[in-house]
Symmetry: C2
Subunit: 229 residues, 2 copies
DNA sequence: ATATAGTGTGTATTTTTTACACTAAGTAAT
DNA sequence: ATTACTTAGTGTAAAAAATACACACTATAT
């Protein structure tokens, strides 16, 4: 950390807080750095914005390179630019978040060349993070807490077909509090973005719950409108 | 516009959407550019971030240089970085907004060296703006519309002492719709951030309204909590 | 058949939101 | 001093939304 490092010209990067849900816990994707500075530390995946990329494009590319995923709802939420946040020079980083369903059908291939490894770690037990990444993560969590109350983004964390209990679980994890089952169902159904399927959950050793799908058409109409949790 | 301009290295700037309220209209501060590109166009006031400035510091400095104001609530709300948004090179700009009371006690001195002049123009009748500034402004307006519903920021647009009617007027302008007087008063008072003064409005040719002040201590307690309009 | 574990449902109460109209107070003009 | 004018300031009833709360059902495993 204290060794002499080359100076960089002013550059901008994008760091992603990828929230993932595996059915049980909320996790974020972290990489273990293989290079100075902060060698061997855990850090948010991120990269430099290319000279001819738009910011959103760049974020999508970075997400793709790190996870193999495409078509994920991502949103820029803040710029971090403390002059000393990066020891090698002035690097302003734009923070994006994404919500991702883990496990199940598609496997992720979080391969990044500049990292020793990548891993989904539960947010309940995060290691110390490189740079100001703790701050970036904190603000990201705060953002989705706020946003999940007003916009239907929770579905992004779930597989295509899900049960209402799973959906409630997501809300409870993100908001950090228990919700009443009956009231939750009443409300979420009243938004009208869920489609009840003729299908039941499988592989459980108890009464199987009805599966729901997220209705994109109705979602499109609702988007922009205020909903409230 | 089509002449050859020097190429800039990657840089970041800050552009401010300064919303001002003069008692009647919502306005924003614009400057008329005196240099290429977009010479003679109206543009949002903005500037390059200095090498040793934090972003918020930089935003405060820029606001100060452009208006002479200090201690104004400002917030970064988005980064705009289309690769071709600036004809001279890749310039990512961080958008900040501020809410400002116009007229009254302190006069603004919106002096900027690189501009022919600066002017507060009503948002109901804006000229064509340079660069992607229309987009930046649009998103800023959208942001404060959303924020004014959930956080007590409307006061920033009013003088220290104000009437409830004035406050309602601000809400109506920002939200773009009429509100019911009685319901508005009930609600705004119930938030508990207003202090009723023993003082009346002066200089009006009708019954003078009671003045209110914004109670900063209660505000501090409320801040972070959700309120809802 | 029985134990187990999660599913799925309704109602009464409280709180919040909405809709709505007149009197009071001060100023200006005559 | 009367009158006209303009905005301030107030309450209630109805509707809608949020909350609190408990038990029977169903599928599986043993």
């Amino acid at each position: 950390m204290e060794q002499i490092l080359p100076h960089l010209d002013s550059v901008f990067s994008i760091d992603c807080v990828l929230f993932g849900f595996d059915g049980k816990e909320l996790k974020i994707l972290l990489i273990e750095r293989n290079e100075e500075p902060f060698k061997d530390w855990w850090a948010l995946p991120g990269n430099i914005v290319g000279p001819d990329e738009s910011l959103d494009q760049s974020a999508s590319r970075i997400l793709y390179e790190l996870t193999g995923l495409r078509g994920i709802y991502m949103e820029q939420y803040y710029a971090f630019g403390d002059p000393h946040r990066h020891p090698q020079g002035r690097v302003i980083t734009l923070a994006y978040y994404a919500l991702i369903r883990l496990g199940g059908d598609k496997e992720l291939r979080p391969i990044s060349t500049y990292a020793k490894r990548a891993n989904w770690l539960p947010i309940s037990d995060l290691p110390k993070l490189a740079f100001d990444h703790q701050k970036i993560y904190d603000k990201g969590l705060e953002k989705i807490k706020r946003r999940i109350k007003h916009q239907p983004i929770a579905f992004e964390l779930l597989p295509e077909k899900f049960t209402l209990t799973q959906l409630q679980h997501v809300y409870e994890l993100v908001l950090g509090k228990k919700l009443d089952k009956r009231n939750f169902r009443k409300k979420i159904v009243s938004f009208g973005v869920l489609k009840e399927l003729d299908e039941k959950q499988k592989g459980v050793s108890y009464r199987a719950a009805t599966l729901y799908r997220f209705d994109k058409r109705k979602y499109a109409k609702l988007f922009g409108k205020e909903i409230s949790f």
